[in-house]
Symmetry: C2
Subunit: 127 residues, 2 copies
DNA sequence: CTCGTAGTTTGACATTCACCGTACTACGAT
DNA sequence: ATCGTAGTACGGTGAATGTCAAACTACGAG
């Protein structure tokens, strides 16, 4: 039986266990989508503390866990830090193009938001 | 005040109001994903009653509303029926390729599920 | 050994969600 | 006018979600 040898081992779903619904759900939160975008941009594993998020540490932990359990990211301990990396290969194999398309969509939406900072619901100067 | 003039008008978000997060959330439910897949396959508007779903009428109404409010489908009354159609143009304009990619991913996952009906978690004969 | 940093866990809380049953409204046919 | 069919609205319930604060665990440095 596995002794308490490795204290820091995290459970990841196998590739075949990854469900589209879970992945979409994981990506449907603004904070998590942001995390995934940064991870994709970095093209390398990043520690949790690298991210500046508008939530507390515990909430950050929660979001990373949702991403990991959905199979979107892989988390490995590296000493006291935890490295997070996108599971690109697995996702691309299961759902070809999905990740890139969502990433591109997020980019597009971001760009639109910057073009209209006040938003169409806020009076811009016509008040 | 507004008279009971048009009794059957449904609110839809304008194209620019559609949010990626909401779309992903709408698609992250199995029942709704199924609805969207049927709608995409039909390539024409379908009435709610056309769908055979494992939930009651009220829950069906709920799911269609989530899809409509997220901007995924358009609903129009046609007499006593309500026709549901995918907002392909809007979605493709906002998030190019997203809908098709998700649809393809759903197909792929479906196909995998059929290949292994018992699932990798159930002993198939090695017991 | 002690301390600080990184991250987790637990418990709480308000919100949202998926789901149901029942009562209701709109429309078309009789 | 009456009835049946399509779908909505209105509660209500149990589970999940996003959030936080506070206490805790692991690791590296001094």
């Amino acid at each position: 039986m596995t002794p308490p040898a490795s204290p820091r081992l995290l459970e990841h779903p196998a590739r075949e266990e990854i469900l589209l619904e879970s992945v979409l759900h994981a990506l449907s939160d603004a904070v998590r989508l942001r995390i995934v975008r940064e991870l994709a941009a970095a093209e390398t594993a990043l520690s949790c503390s690298h991210f500046v998020l508008p939530v507390t540490k515990s909430t950050t932990t929660h979001h990373f866990r949702v991403l990991r359990e959905a199979g979107v990211i892989r988390q490995d301990y590296q000493g006291t830090a935890k490295l997070n990396g996108l599971r690109r290969e697995d996702l691309d194999a299961l759902f070809p193009g999905l990740l890139d398309t969502v990433l591109a969509a997020a980019e597009a939406q971001s760009a639109r938001a910057e073009d209209a900072p006040a938003g169409p619901l806020t009076a811009t100067a016509s008040d």
